[in-house]
Amino acid sequence: MLEASNLECVRGERSLFAGVSFRLDGGEMLYVQGKNGSGKTSLLRMLCALTPAVSGEIRWRGGPIGKLGEEFRSELCYLGHQNAIKEELTPLENLLSSARLAQEALDEDAALDALALVGLRGREDLACRYLSQGQKRRAALARLVNEKRALWVLDEPYVALDPAAVELVAGLIGTHLQAGGLAVLTTHQAVSVPAAAVRELWLGDSDATQRPQ
């Protein structure tokens, strides 16, 4: 479903990686690994069509993502380094407005349930600037609870979370994969996602190899 061939990434004057290729089908997860500065985030942003690849091509269901445009974006859920949480809004408002902007139907009860699930019960109506770093991350990850879109691209989803929350997020990803979804994620933590076909991609200094797992 998601195919990348011969991707190259240049930042400034340095080539971060070249010749990155992989293929990901329904129910599979891709772990992107590598040192700091090896281009993990850049690769994820390329997969979202935020950054154009210097060379190479990314295809979704056979079509190049640049051409698919909105068709591709309506199946994509991206969670970046930054939480995309508005400090002035409450977790509930944040969750509802991000669902509305993504044109997903989410009623208030479902949103409250999702926030309770990620452990923000009792904080729903508190402006996000009063939340701790981990709680903000939880508020951002609450999006995933009712997320039905097929491709999840998650940049360091476990960062700033306590072990219980890490377990929870891994469970959400597992459920998503079992339902036939795809996930691409970067992390420095070794977390096992339940019942998933895992592929790994190592980004080296200038070339990348796909290690069989």
Partner: protein
């Protein structure tokens, strides 16, 4: 979709009312400084009034423009907006409308009160208000291009003025010109209809280059 963007931006602005109030006071203070600078002679003030009010409106708009995208850029919301399954131009249009409601409309409401300081007749006050009502949306639309181009750039605020103010000149000319025409006994219709054309162009054409500039800024 448009309503979702506008609603979200208005809600955010309401949680940060201090910004709106600061821009309004800036407008009031700049306009009030002119009589102090040139003297209280009513004839002269009346002649200056359209230009002064319009230039102050331009500057007050400049003050609120950098935040149009900067906050969303910083916390990652802008990425989510560009990844939404709609054309980015539509989202930008929503943000431009919200910006006008928050930054432009208060200027329109304040203008007649400030016009009284300059001894304008009621006809001229009416035309002044109407010209601002028609013209300020163009300021928000054209300004959005500059705000997107200078997103995350060194010295963005000053650069934004350098890029946007020259593009504001036609709006200034026709806006202030409409009031001038009224003062000198000619009808303001020609000026106002040209201003209307600029506003339509600014609001509906400008979101597309703005969207392109935002994508460049996010690369």
């Amino acid at each position: 979709m448009l309503r979702a963007v506008i609603g979200r931006d208005l809600r955010l602005a309401m949680r940060r009312q201090a910004d709106i109030v600061a821009a309004m006071f800036f407008f009031i203070i700049v306009v009030s400084l002119f009589p102090l600078g040139v003297g209280p002679e009513p004839d002269q003030l009346r002649r200056m009034a359209p230009g002064v009010l319009w230039v102050a409106a331009l500057l007050a708009t400049m003050l609120s423009l950098p935040r149009l995208f900067a906050d969303d850029h910083r916390d990652g919301t802008l990425e989510q907006l560009t990844l939404a399954p709609q054309p980015l131009g539509v989202i930008v249009l929503g943000k431009v409308i919200a910006h006008w409601l928050v930054a432009g409309l208060p200027l329109v409401v304040l203008a007649p009160v400030l016009g009284i300081q300059f001894d304008l007749s009621s006809d001229a006050l009416l035309v002044l208000t109407v010209s601002l009502l028609i013209g300020t949306p163009a300021l928000s639309g054209i300004g959005a291009i500059g705000a997107a181009l200078t997103l995350g750039v060194r010295g963005g605020g000053v650069l934004l003025s350098l890029l946007v103010l020259p593009l504001y000149i036609p709006v200034l000319i026709f806006g202030a010109g409409a009031v001038d025409a009224t003062l000198s006994g000619l009808g303001p219709q020609a000026h106002l209809s040209l201003l209307g054309a600029l506003a339509l162009g600014g609001v509906f054409f400008a979101p597309w280059p703005t969207a392109a500039a935002l994508r460049v800024a996010l690369e």
